[in-house]
């Protein structure tokens, strides 16, 4: 049986998609706007394309995890995002979950 040519890439993208929410929440503990957030994520080797990031930010905001406001910076209007109180709480829980998964997986791989 032959495997699909893009199978690894598809699974990798799927794996990273779940982690992206966590990465975005982690970065938005300090306030940022979309473009700098994307650059910051890329610096940490968490590349995300704009077409995915902005809808994700909008979804997280509509779920109450982020708050945003339009503000002028460098003579340009930018939309700044940061974690809401609920967002901080959920982030802590997700981070604990992530560490638990990481630990389980490490245990399985080593075992």
């Amino acid at each position: 049986m032959t495997i699909e040519p893009n199978l690894f890439e598809n699974i990798r993208m799927e794996l990273r998609r779940g982690s992206l929410v966590l990465a975005v929440l982690a970065q938005l503990r300090t306030e940022q706007y979309g473009y700098t957030l994307r650059k910051a994520l890329a610096e940490h080797d968490m590349e995300i394309d704009e077409g995915t990031l902005y809808p994700l930010l909008r979804r997280l905001e509509s779920q109450g995890l982020l708050v945003s406001e339009w503000r002028e910076e460098d003579k340009r209007n930018k939309r700044f995002y940061h974690l809401s109180a609920d967002g901080k709480h959920i982030f802590k829980q997700l981070l604990a979950e992530w560490k638990s998964i990481d630990s389980s997986l490490n245990g399985m791989v080593k075992g």
Binding site: Y33, Y35, P55
Partner: protein, 339 residues
């Protein structure tokens, strides 16, 4: 930056109306920041190919806009095709409704009983619903094929940002249009005012043998008033090109009044539009034939004019609604945000 504006325009068209401005503003800011960073790195402005490369990273407007829609687990028409489907459906609805209303109004004014109006509405449901069904089926099949053969992935790979449509025309009445309206309208009014005194202006060399029948006299004044109103509209829009709703509303009223006048004229079917002057000597029979021919020609012209006015009425009603929607949206966008 024209390419960026064209891109944003294309994305905006496909977004949910309530979020259009907000999303496009943020997207615009992000693209411009990226372009500025690249320009700073290269030390020169980006050319069109480099700008297109950045837009290519963002993706085809259809795909970008679809990501802003909440996906559902199962759907007949997915978020990618839905904006196009909805646009086609709405356009069809308004056209069908306009034709149906015109038909009902025409029946009522020609003395048909009121129940014709209800029958007209029922006829609309009978004809529109199957059409909606076929369109829904067509888009459902397209969506199925898209999912099956990944047509959008293929489209996205082949998509070139430079193939985007040109920027929409500005929402202002062009000065050239107003000036043309003023000049053309003035010539028309002068012609209208001169016709009763110089029949040559309407009949040419046959002016000595033909004359307008009295049926025209009662409609002469309304036609002159309508022409003067047209001049006023052109003058107002020359001074205020941003009053596009005024122009659309004027055209709508103008078309309605025009149709009423036309309807009243054609109702007088027992009278000819022109008659031959009795004292035409030996050429009498020839001029009688000429008058009959001209009457047929006028009747055909008026029928054509009625069709053109009816189409224009639907179009102007559509324009009025679009302008009103734009006005409401602009006001909502400029209103202070509470959140």
């Amino acid at each position: 930056m024209e390419l960026v504006q064209r891109y944003l325009q294309a994305v905006k068209f496909l977004l949910p109306r309530a979020q259009q401005d907000d999303i496009v503003k943020e997207l615009s800011e992000s693209i411009r920041s990226q372009i500025e960073d690249k320009e700073a790195e290269l030390g020169r402005p980006l050319n069109e190919i480099e700008q297109a490369a950045i837009l290519k990273q963002y993706g085809n407007p259809l795909i970008v806009a679809s990501r802003y829609r909440q996906p559902s687990l199962q759907y007949l028409i997915g978020p990618v095709l839905f904006p196009l489907y909805w646009f086609v459906l709405k356009t069809l609805l308004w056209i069908a409704l306009g034709v149906c209303l015109l038909n009902s109004v025409a029946l009522l004014t020609s003395g048909e009983p009121l129940r014709q109006l209800f029958q007209g509405v029922l006829a609309f449901a009978h004809s529109a619903l199957p059409a909606f069904g076929w369109i829904t089926l067509l888009f459902a099949v397209l969506d199925f094929l898209e999912a099956k053969f990944r047509l959008l992935d293929l489209l996205n790979r082949r998509w070139d940002p430079r193939s985007l449509p040109a920027l929409a025309k500005p929402t202002h009445v062009r000065r050239s249009e107003s000036v043309f309206g003023l000049v053309g309208g003035t010539v028309y009014v002068v012609w209208l005012l001169a016709v009763p005194y110089y029949p040559y202006l309407i009949f040419g060399p046959a002016a000595s043998a033909l004359r307008l029948s009295p049926v025209w006299h009662q409609f002469y004044l309304p036609v002159v008033v309508l022409a003067l109103a047209g001049l006023l509209q052109a003058g107002v829009n020359l001074a205020r090109p941003d009053w596009t709703l005024f122009r659309a509303a004027f055209r709508f009223v103008n078309n309605v009044v025009g149709l009423i006048i036309l309807h009243s004229v054609t109702k007088e079917t027992t009278h000819p539009f022109v008659t031959a002057i009795a004292d035409t000597g030996t050429s009498g029979p020839h001029y009688q034939l000429l008058a009959a021919t001209v009457n047929v020609f006028i009747a055909l012209t008026l029928a054509g004019f009625a069709i053109a006015l009816s189409i224009s009425l639907i179009f102007s009603a559509w324009q009025c609604l679009s302008e009103l929607r734009r006005l409401v949206r602009d006001r909502a966008a400029t209103a202070p945000r509470t959140s």
